[in-house]
């Protein structure tokens, strides 16, 4: 059967392989559905676990401010938000609407969750994309260089800078950068937009304004990631440089530079490439502190606020989105790993 496909360009094994892969991916996607269902129950339950609900918090806040709220008003509020119904009914209502694209109402903001999350999620993703790009563009070349020129002055310098980057908390870095920006460059550090564009509709000018603001948070958030990725890239490249197949490649008479990129670096990139998916949930949640310090309109502070005020539907929706991203990220990682490293192709058997 395998022998019927002629020609060297596409060995018969490749057809078999893609079928196996397709089946594997389909199977994994189908497995996602029950997992996500369970996660939605768990996240909804967790939000309801603390005593009280949004109305209790709301009333307590009003009482602290010296205002009286009558029993009838509380009952009316609970009626309004549907909080007087049993938990499972609330869940069923929420999840049914969620599947139709309606994530419910945020009590705190008094706006639909969809509208609240929508723009912030997009901004967060744009920022995270640039951060990821920044991290890889900096860390991969430096890591390779550090490994190839191990113990050189440049290697020591990058290692030193890297450890400082790793050891400095991001929010501190944000404060320092803000201070430098305001004190020396007269920059309006903080936020993603200039005041005149804040509520303006999207336009080329607004995008340009955003990009001008974005580099600072990208550098701040990316610093620790860069430092960590340099260490990983350096270690894996060093590991691969000593392997026998590198010596084989060298014995062919290849130039040292292209040989290094084609063989050891190609293999050393596997763990980096295959963990891209794991960055997905971090993209949404990982920058809460920096976003708070820099006043960024991203999802991190929104989730934080929602959890603080027991804003049921907003918190549950965001946690469900985060969990979905985690699962999808892991799936992407697994598929990428199988794609870049033939040793890990699933379901494949040796031929001898």
């Amino acid at each position: 059967m395998a022998g019927t496909v002629a020609g060297h360009q596409l060995p018969p094994a490749a057809h078999l392989l893609t079928n196996v892969m397709r089946e594997y991916v389909l199977q994994r996607v189908l497995q996602l559905i029950p997992t996500l269902f369970l996660i939605s129950i768990v996240s909804f339950t967790i939000i309801q676990l603390p005593p009280g609900d949004y109305v209790t918090t709301y009333v307590a806040n009003l009482a602290a401010a010296g205002e009286e709220v009558s029993e009838a008003e509380i009952a009316a509020l609970e009626e309004h938000y549907g909080l007087n119904q049993p938990g499972y009914i609330q869940y069923i209502k929420w999840i049914t609407n969620f599947l139709q694209g309606d994530m419910g109402l945020s009590f705190y903001w008094d706006r639909p969750v969809n509208r609240l999350i929508g723009e912030r999620l997009m901004l967060t993703m744009i920022m995270s994309f640039f951060t990821l790009l920044f991290v890889y563009a900096m860390a991969i070349p430096i890591g390779i260089y550090s490994a190839v020129r191990q113990y050189s002055p440049a290697d020591y310098t990058f290692t030193f800078i890297g450890f400082i980057g790793l050891a400095t908390p991001n929010f501190l870095l944000a404060l320092i950068f803000m201070y430098i920006g305001i004190a020396f460059f007269d920059a309006d550090a903080g936020g993603l937009f200039s005041i005149e564009y804040l509520d303006a509709p999207w336009s080329v000018a607004k995008i340009w304004d955003m990009l001008k603001h974005m580099w600072l948070p990208v550098v701040i958030v990316g610093t620790s990631g860069t430092a960590g990725t340099i260490r990983v890239m350096r270690a894996t490249t060093l590991d691969e440089l000593g392997r026998p197949y590198v010596e084989t490649a060298r014995a062919k008479g290849l130039r040292e530079g292209p040989m290094t990129m084609k063989y050891p670096v190609r293999v050393a990139l596997n763990p980096i490439l295959s963990t891209i998916g794991w960055q997905l949930p971090q993209i949404v949640s990982g920058t809460v502190l920096v976003a708070l310090v820099l006043n960024l309109p991203t999802t991190g502070p929104l989730l934080w606020r929602a959890l603080m005020s027991q804003d049921l539907y907003l918190a549950a929706s965001m946690i469900l989105i985060l969990s979905s991203l985690t699962l999808i990220g892991t799936l992407i990682s697994d598929i990428l790993l199988a794609w870049v490293d033939p040793r890990i192709r699933y379901g494949e058997r040796g031929t001898t």
Binding site: A2, G3, A6, H8, L10, P11, P12, A13, A14, R243, P244, Y245, E247, T248, A249, R250, A251, K252, G253, L254, R255, E256, Y263, R266, V267, N270, V340, D341, P342, R343, G350, T351, T352
Partner: protein
């Protein structure tokens, strides 16, 4: 020399490759001299750490820091396309320069001890072989692929067209070594350096690989430098044998002569430690002691602490120089010098004399 000078393919003179470590300088290869005739097989034998592999990498100019080839000559008779053969000192060429790179892999190629680890885990074996061909031969990618498939056929790999698309982890160790041989021979090198190519394989596979190498060596009229720790492996194959100890060649000569009548006490001990079918022994002979620390500076002959014929006051004081005996045998041993005849009777009675 057992070969005529004009038949010499590679001549290594006083090669010195040292490793500059924090602990000191390790003289991995210390004034090693030998030559390989065109189409001949040289067996290089010695224990782990004696400098066999470093000698091979010195010839390939692939010694990595902290190792450096500090002195010597490696004269390689390079056949020009037209005109006479010219002698090139490989140590005078820049290690990563164009000329050395065209020799490395094209005219002198190498196979290694761990066949599976020596192939890239993420590239198809066909791509790895064609890469070598495209690097050294003026052919199109399609032609290179045909040559590669043909080479896989020559090393007796079943279904070569399909194996071109396989990865190293899908093949057995023996198959991987066949692939390595196919890759190394794809450009018809003048010299194949085989660094313990069968050590990691089981004995049945080892025998098959050795048989394959012998067959190809005869077909392609290529010289082989066969590095091994096992004298038994080179017994059938080698024309000449060089025995190395601590970076120096202690005995060199025609393979048949060395097996029939070993001269150096180390060679004698190595041969005695081989298991033999025709002798009934209670215990397998071993060589007492271990290879000394590479940083130590032993006075006199480096083998004297382990030698069965140790002459006190001679072997631990005088550094033996290579001496040529009958049959163009070269031995680095004081037993065959005037020091031995003056102070002790012939080696056989040496023990009773003390």
């Amino acid at each position: 020399m057992t070969v005529q000078p004009n038949d010499t393919l590679l001549e290594v003179k006083d090669l010195q490759t040292h490793f500059f470590m924090a602990e000191g300088v390790a003289k991995a290869v210390d004034s090693t001299t030998f030559s390989i005739g065109r189409g001949k097989v040289l067996g290089v034998v010695g224990e782990s750490g004696c400098g066999k592999s470093v000698t091979a990498r010195s010839i390939m100019r692939m010694v990595r820091p902290p190792g450096h080839t500090v002195d010597g000559e490696i004269l390689y008779a390079r056949a020009a396309e037209t005109g006479p053969t010219t002698s090139v000192d490989l140590l005078q060429l820049p290690a990563t320069g164009a000329e050395m790179r065209s020799i490395r892999g094209g005219e002198i190629s190498m196979i290694f001890q761990e066949p599976r680890a020596s192939l890239s885990p993420v590239h198809r074996i066909g791509d790895q072989i064609t890469e070598n061909i495209l690097l050294h031969q003026p052919v199109s990618p399609a032609e290179a692929e045909d040559i590669a498939t043909d080479m896989l056929q020559q090393v007796h790999i079943p279904l070569p067209e399909q194996r071109m698309g396989a990865f190293a982890h899908q093949l057995s160790g023996g198959m991987c070594q066949r692939v390595m041989i196919a890759m190394a021979l794809s450009c018809h090198p003048n010299l194949l350096i085989a660094d313990e190519p069968t050590t990691a394989l089981d004995v049945t596979t080892e025998a098959q690989i050795l048989e394959l190498m012998q067959g190809l060596q005869a077909d392609l009229n290529m010289a082989i430098m066969f590095i091994t720790h096992d004298l038994g492996v080179v017994a059938d194959m080698a024309d000449e044998v060089a025995v190395m100890y601590l970076g120096k060649i202690v005995e060199r000569g025609a393979a048949a002569d060395i097996f029939r009548d070993p001269k150096h006490p180390y060679t004698i001990a190595l041969l005695e430690s081989l298991p033999r079918m025709d002798q009934k022994r209670e215990w397998l002979q071993t060589i007492r002691g271990v290879v000394p620390d590479p940083y130590s500076t032993l006075s006199g002959c480096p083998f004297h602490p382990r030698c069965a014929d140790f002459m006190p006051g001679v072997c631990d004081e005088i550094v033996p120089q290579p001496i040529t005996l009958e049959d163009e045998r070269e031995v680095r041993c004081l037993l065959y010098t005037e020091h031995a005849t003056r102070e002790t009777p012939p080696p056989a009675e040496e023990a009773s004399h003390q």
